[in-house]
């Protein structure tokens, strides 16, 4: 089944407000693709454009090579799981799941077969006769998934479907969603502001901010090689040291961070000597310095948090205003770090990314 989704020059304006700036995007057949961004970044707007609830201001969409321009929302090969699930409370579980088939004129017996099979798939066998209100949050979630799958969509659209669940259930449903996606081979387009969800489940993630795609990449690449300051700060924990480019040498940059010293990192964007930039190091990349380290930073420990497997330290360099977060194995530093202790931290060039500063924040009105 060809279920590629192709967005061509899609943009969306509401009056003066530009929710989505023109963008192109190809989502592969059977891919688990996430849009990740803070609320108001335009990700839900994009989802509504794909589902047909919104008409884009410019551009066109095709699903499986078929243009969707003239196809109304109720005829598209997409199926949506809503943030509040939007199950039909006056219908039974089975009736909910079968609704899409009822619309398509499938016979009652045939419908029952499908809903029974789907209830098995989502691990809720023999619960077709229940009322929606009798179900727990997680069960409702599964019914919503089954209802969306019943119409055999090419593309499943998920609008933060896990946000209403508690933490444990959320983590469990992540695995399950991924598993269902693997079994059904449907293209999943997942909207979330929760990077944990996006990183654990997705094949690729599009990070969005202020109506623009910041970076489209695999979760690992996003984490290791952010291409913009926004991505570096939004995805995962990161320490940012502000500085100025001293020299660019191939894919490496030498950065002068004033009183903190000079450091070497990977070039993450377009940079010229003298340009202000940000140097990004992940908390887990900061280790006790050894003789081999070219990047060294002396800090004093302000807070120690024991979190079981690891320690997180909040440390400060004497001349830097912002905290430096360090994450260490609990056995590191001899298992003992105390408040006020002085540490010499070292970090590798290949685990350090240097990025240009983001332009001034987009004003909401263009």
């Amino acid at each position: 089944m060809d279920s590629r989704v192709h967005l061509d020059n899609i943009s969306m304006k509401f009056g003066d407000f530009t929710a989505v700036h023109p963008l192109d995007l190809d989502i592969q057949s059977g891919e688990f693709f996430s849009f990740l961004g803070p609320s108001g970044c335009g990700k839900t707007t994009l989802l509504n454009i794909v589902s047909g609830f919104l008409e884009p201001t410019t551009g066109s969409i095709s699903i499986g090579n078929e243009p969707m321009g003239a196809v109304p929302a109720n005829k598209r090969p997409t199926s949506m799981i809503f943030q509040n699930l939007a199950l039909f409370p006056l219908m039974s579980v089975a009736e909910n799941i079968e609704f899409g088939l009822e619309v398509r004129g499938v016979s009652k017996a045939e419908r029952r077969k499908v809903s029974d099979r789907l209830l098995e798939l989502v691990d809720l066998p023999h619960s077709g006769q229940y009322r929606i209100d009798d179900l727990s949050g997680g069960q409702k979630q599964r019914v919503a998934i089954a209802r969306a799958l019943a119409v055999e969509p090419k593309v499943l659209l998920l609008d933060e479907p896990l946000s209403a669940l508690d933490l444990k259930l959320r983590q469990h449903m992540r695995t399950e969603l991924k598993e269902i996606q693997r079994r059904t081979e449907i293209t999943f387009i997942y909207i979330t502001h929760d990077q944990g969800e996006a990183l654990t489940m997705s094949d690729r993630v599009a990070v969005m901010s202020a109506g623009r795609l910041q970076q489209v990449d695999t979760p690992i690449e996003l984490y290791r090689k952010p291409k913009t300051a926004f991505v570096a700060e939004f995805v995962g924990e990161n320490n940012r040291l502000p500085g100025k480019v001293v020299a660019v040498d191939g894919d490496q940059v030498l950065v002068d961070c004033g009183a903190a010293g000079q450091f070497r990192g990977q070039l993450g964007g377009q940079l010229e000597p003298g340009q202000p930039c940000g140097l990004y190091v992940r908390p887990e990349s900061l280790k006790a310095a050894t003789d081999q380290d070219t990047n060294r930073l002396d800090v004093s420990v302000e807070t120690v948090n024991f979190e079981g497997a690891h320690l997180t330290l909040e440390t400060r360099h004497a001349q830097l205003t912002s905290m430096v977060h360090v994450q260490a194995d609990q056995r590191a530093y001899g298992g003992q770090v105390e408040q006020g202790a002085n540490l010499s931290l070292g970090f590798k060039t290949e685990e350090t990314v240097v990025l240009p500063e983001d332009g001034p924040l987009e004003t909401i009105h263009d």
């Binding site: 949506m80 509040n84 939007a86 199950l87 039909f88 609704f99 398509r104």
Partner: protein, 295 residues
């Protein structure tokens, strides 16, 4: 409950409230009804005969209604026409209520609600008279239709039941729109979107999602409009033709022209029973309880 009230308002205040409540319930509601029921089972006597040998309970008044072909026909016609008014009002009000509750902007809601309410600032008789003018043989509606070429000779709207139906639908639209609006407004718009996303067209979305959700509102509106229609006097009196008399007009005649209160009370009591029966039937059909109607 009395304990709670006493705890909250103190003994004397509670007593006053309860007394007022009972006064309202017994003296103002129950007693007049009981007197009318009592009247309805007694023959119409001149004062000197009261308490005499003829002052006995009898079913005579009710037998008159059963035995009188014309009155019986008018009774059933009133039921039928009231049902028709109710259905017409529902059909007219549903799209308006849906638009107001789900599609309109706050500004549009204000404007339309205002337009709906303004006519009610005018007395019902005057409103009905204005329809009398609009619908009359040489009135503006006929002139408009003639002018636009839809008809080649004026229509007698006011002969037959047409005028009464139009007048009543117009008079009771608010009593249908507001319960419907309340019910539909509480529908999560995502339900409609979900149905649409699953492939449902306009009619199915309404039939399977919106209308089931709006059931209590529909029931409330239908009950109100039916009772107002069945008990209406002004509209049929003004817009009705001689052939479209309403049961209320007969009751009126017994009271004020026939001077026979006993007969009128019997007829009125039958109408009351009819209305209660209608409420019960609607509640049964829509499978809702009394509590849902209050919502």
């Amino acid at each position: 409950m009395i304990k709670q009230l006493t705890a909250r308002f103190g003994g004397p205040m509670t007593l006053v409230v309860l007394l007022l409540l009972w006064f309202w319930l017994i003296v103002l509601v129950l007693l007049p009804q009981l007197i009318m029921i009592d009247y309805s089972f007694k023959p119409n006597l001149i004062p000197s005969q009261l308490g005499g040998p003829e002052d006995v309970y009898t079913l005579g008044n009710y037998q008159t209604l059963v035995g009188n072909d014309i009155h019986r026909t008018i009774f059933f016609k009133t039921i039928w026409s009231s049902i028709l008014v109710t259905l017409l009002t529902l059909m007219v009000s549903y799209p308006v209520a849906y638009f107001l509750a789900q599609l309109a902007t706050a500004k549009q809601v204000m404007l339309i609600a205002l337009l709906l309410v303004i006519p009610y600032w005018i007395n019902e008789i005057l409103r009905t008279f204005s329809w009398y003018l609009i619908l009359s043989f040489q009135g503006p509606l006929n002139a408009l239709l003639l002018g636009m070429g839809f008809i080649d000779r004026p229509i007698r709207f006011l002969s037959g039941d047409g005028g009464v139906l139009i007048g009543m639908v117009y008079a009771y639209i608010l009593f249908m729109v507001f319960p419907l609006y309340n019910a539909i407004e509480s529908l999560d718009n995502n339900q409609v979107r979900a149905a649409r996303n699953l492939g449902a067209g306009l009619i199915r979305i309404h039939w399977r999602i919106v209308i089931p959700h709006a059931k209590p509102g529909i029931a409330t509106g239908c009950i109100m409009v039916f009772m107002l229609a069945a008990g209406s006097y002004a509209v049929p009196a003004l817009l009705g033709s001689p052939g479209s008399r309403w049961f209320t007009q007969i009751i009126y005649n017994w009271f004020f022209e026939g001077g026979n209160w006993n007969m009128g009370a019997a007829y009125a009591f039958v109408l009351l029973i009819l209305c209660i029966g209608f409420i019960a039937a609607i509640m049964k059909v829509f499978r809702i309880g009394l509590g849902d109607i209050g919502k």
